[in-house]
Amino acid sequence: MTSLDTLISRRRLIGTLGASAGLAALGLPRIAFAAAPTENRLVVVMLRGALDGLAAVPPYGDSRYPERRANLALPMPGQPDGMLPLDRTFALNAALASIQPMWSAGELLIVPATAGGYHTRSHFDAQDLLEMGLVERHGTPSGWLNRALVDIQGGDRQRRLGLAVGPAVPLMLRGSVAVASWEPPNLKPADPTLLAALAQMYAGDKLLGPALADGIKAQNLSDEVLGSGMMDADGKPRFAKAGGYGPGAFKPMAEAAGGLLAAADGPRVAVIDMGGWDTHVGQGTVKGRLADNLRGLADGLAQLKTSLGPAWGRTVVLIMTEFGRTVAPNGTNGTDHGTASVALLLGGAVRGGRVAGDWPGLSQLEENRDLRMATDLRAVAKGVLRDHLGVAQAHLDTAVFPDSAAVKPLGGLVRA
């Protein structure tokens, strides 16, 4: 027990209070520390590799759609594997069937033709800029969501309302505010004796010390919240196959995120990554890599709703990607790097069942090849942060998205 006490007191010393197990062990009333500044939840799903927005949410009612998309045009509603109509202009790819009920329930909002305000077709630059909330690289890299947490946490940098789901903390969540992270466990947990010894060893290490302390804390949190659900009947970790890439990797992460966010004293803002969207070759119309990925995304989102339980009613899920893809198929039945894609908002707190923002149409294209941007992703994020999480607009215009006063928040995204 000595070693565990050591760990707990270490955690206390470095100010990472909030681990329920630790608080219980210290005999302190949980509620005194657990009161979160908001009951609302935000999940940002970052689709890396550039989602083909025209394939995910096809504008089938745009008269130019069949000709512009050529052999990538999806079968019309009603045909075999046909798209699922939303309104007279937009439909969902049939692979997104799992989230279609959310549209009817008014929990799914489409924002077509979205892009960051930057001009690059490099995945890596665009992802960095999108996550930093900038249009040009400058300053020390930190993420817009981390800077938003400064306001949400009311200056308490140790509260850890932010949660990174996956093996690394995405740039969007990196910065001065401490965040929690969770990854599917698949190695035997470290022995407390070893952890206690290492906590000593790492004490003087500015990088590894805090990371280890946070890791221990996150483990306690996830053990308590996810409980015995972590192991299957054979005692093997349930999420052993999770992590990594491919359409199947998203669902278990969404499940875990939902469980952690649902907890009364858990995190409130989570980021989940999903890769595999860079579809240069044979992306297929109905079957193939893109359809599999969309299905994996939709299944994971349905799971997220289930795992959040009643908290779904106070949740906004924002799905975005670094840029769109070319409107016309390339020579290999795929699409190359383009400009605008689509953003989706889902959740019980979303004022959904409708389309927000403008549709620039497929008649005139950016550089004669790409869907033009109608809505800046920063406007969407600002609208959510202001109206759902109460971040002050002055903070949004200057700190969260520097020099962005001209990009007005998109209003009315969430239920009053």
Partner: protein
């Protein structure tokens, strides 16, 4: 600090159980001597299947699957009578899986036992620079042969040759889709719907040579893609199946303007000329110098060191031996020790090298996957990140501790932790930490502490 430890850990994969006395007298000389102009292929790589052979196997596998599908469609069986045939591995699949295991074993053997660990680190560095990733399943069996055939022979040669070898390797052709990129006005392009694919052209400029701010336009990306049409892979019915092959029928005809220069129609010659230009471009020298400095010095490398390396690159026409020698001569490479965090691969490789106790390829693959850096499985063409922020998350550090514990549990019973700590870390670990290891409650815990210690997690 002990320069021999720095030489071993920063430029290689760390010291072994015998420590550093073999080169302690002249660590810099030891590093430089490893860069012989032409290293012969090591015996550990003999007998591994070549990429051409593997590509042919992949082609056969595709053929078999098509046939099986056609047969199944011709005589459909009721599904209730379904036989468990689906789980049987085809002979081709066995060959490909075997290739992955063999390549993994050879790579691990090289990094953990080679007498030229600096060369091994350079191989890994350049392999990551020209990433081909098994995240695309068809590339998975070829990634090892790519590193062995395209990267390894050129790490102390000319950068231009390295670029050419990487671009012409079938693994790169498949990974970045160039093998199916068809010039719209080519003979094939005119009578089919197939066309141009920009993927290789873009990554070649952005990642491999000029760098994203290297001074090229979208038009240049497309021009390079057009120039490289026809750079493909030989199908089953040609003389040399499975190898790089220039296919004139899909090459976009006509003049191209690339980086302000006109390339008159010259078939494959256009690509050769364009690669020569971009491989020797000043932007490329800076891009490569910066990445090398980031890898061997610090995450934010000192500009002076980057300038000096870029200068050597330009003055020697991209002689990577000269550039690597210059790397050893950078004072910052010696004064900034322990500022780099090891990647999971570095960590696993140096742990095995330290104890001299190997893992099976399956164990190594599993471990690296769990640590988030599957061998040859980088998430994108940009390769694995080379900075601490990307690798030191709370979960990531715990995973390392867990892996250290598991590995130490497996091999720790017959090492002397105190002696090993002295041999591998010398005075780079604080005395009290050394003592804590020596006093740990068991040998496995002591070894796990050594491997997880800050001094071992850094280089």
């Amino acid at each position: 600090m002990n320069e021999a430890i720095i030489a071993a850990s920063r430029f290689g994969y760390g010291a072994g159980p015998d420590g550093t006395h073999a080169f302690a007298a002249d660590p810099r000389g030891w590093l430089k001597a490893q860069l012989a102009p032409q290293a012969p292929l090591l015996p550990r790589f003999a007998g591994l299947p070549g990429s051409a052979e593997l590509v042919v196997t992949l082609q056969q596998l595709r053929q078999e699957r098509r046939q099986a599908k056609a047969e199944a469609e011709a005589s459909p069986r009721p599904s209730a009578a379904g036989e468990p045939q689906g789980h049987q591995m085809l002979p081709e699949q066995r060959v490909l899986r075997q290739a992955v295991l063999q390549e993994t074993a050879a790579k691990l053997d090289a990094v953990t036992t080679s007498a030229k660990p600096f060369v091994e680190r350079l191989v890994s560095f350049w392999s990551n620079h020209f990433t081909v990733s098994g995240v695309r399943p068809i590339v998975r069996p070829l990634a090892g042969s790519f590193e062995r055939e395209a990267i390894r022979p050129h790490v102390a040669g000319r950068f231009e040759d390295l670029v050419l070898a990487a671009v012409q390797h079938p693994a790169m052709g498949l990974y970045l889709d160039n093998w199916v990129s068809v010039g719209p006005d080519s003979r094939v392009g005119q009578r089919s719907t197939r066309g141009l694919n920009e993927n290789l052209g873009r990554e070649l400029l952005e990642l491999h040579t000029l760098g994203v701010d290297g001074g090229y336009s979208e038009e240049d990306v497309r021009a390079l893609a057009r120039i490289l049409t026809g750079w493909s892979i030989g199908g089953p019915r040609v003389d040399e199946p499975g190898r790089f092959r220039f296919v004139p029928a899909i090459h976009e005809p006509g003049d191209k303007i690339f980086l302000g220069r006109r390339y008159p129609e010259a078939g494959m010659g256009e690509g050769l000329a364009a690669i020569r230009v971009i491989a020797n471009h000043p932007s490329t020298a800076r891009h490569v110098a910066r990445q090398l400095a980031q890898h061997f010095i610090t995450d934010q490398p000192p500009p002076a060191a980057v300038d000096r390396l870029a200068q050597v690159f330009m003055q020697t026409g991209g002689d990577l031996r000269a550039v690597s020698l210059a790397l050893v001569d950078q004072p910052e490479a010696w004064s900034s020790y322990l500022q780099k965090i090891k990647t999971p691969f570095d960590f696993v490789a140096s742990a095995i090298r330290a104890t001299g106790k190997p893992l099976t390829p399956e164990q190594a693959i599993n471990g690296l996957n769990r640590l988030g850096q599957g061998l040859h499985m980088a998430p994108s063409p940009a390769g694995w990140p080379d900075d601490a922020a990307s690798w030191v998350g709370p979960e990531a550090v715990l995973r390392r501790v867990e892996w250290a514990q598991a590995y130490a549990g497996q091999v720790g019973d017959d090492v002397d932790p105190a002696v090993l700590t002295e041999a591998v870390l010398g005075d780079t670990i604080a005395a009290d930490q050394h003592q804590a290891i020596a006093r740990a409650e068991s040998r496995p815990i002591a070894l796990a502490m050594l491997l997880a210690s800050p001094a071992f997690q850094r280089r």
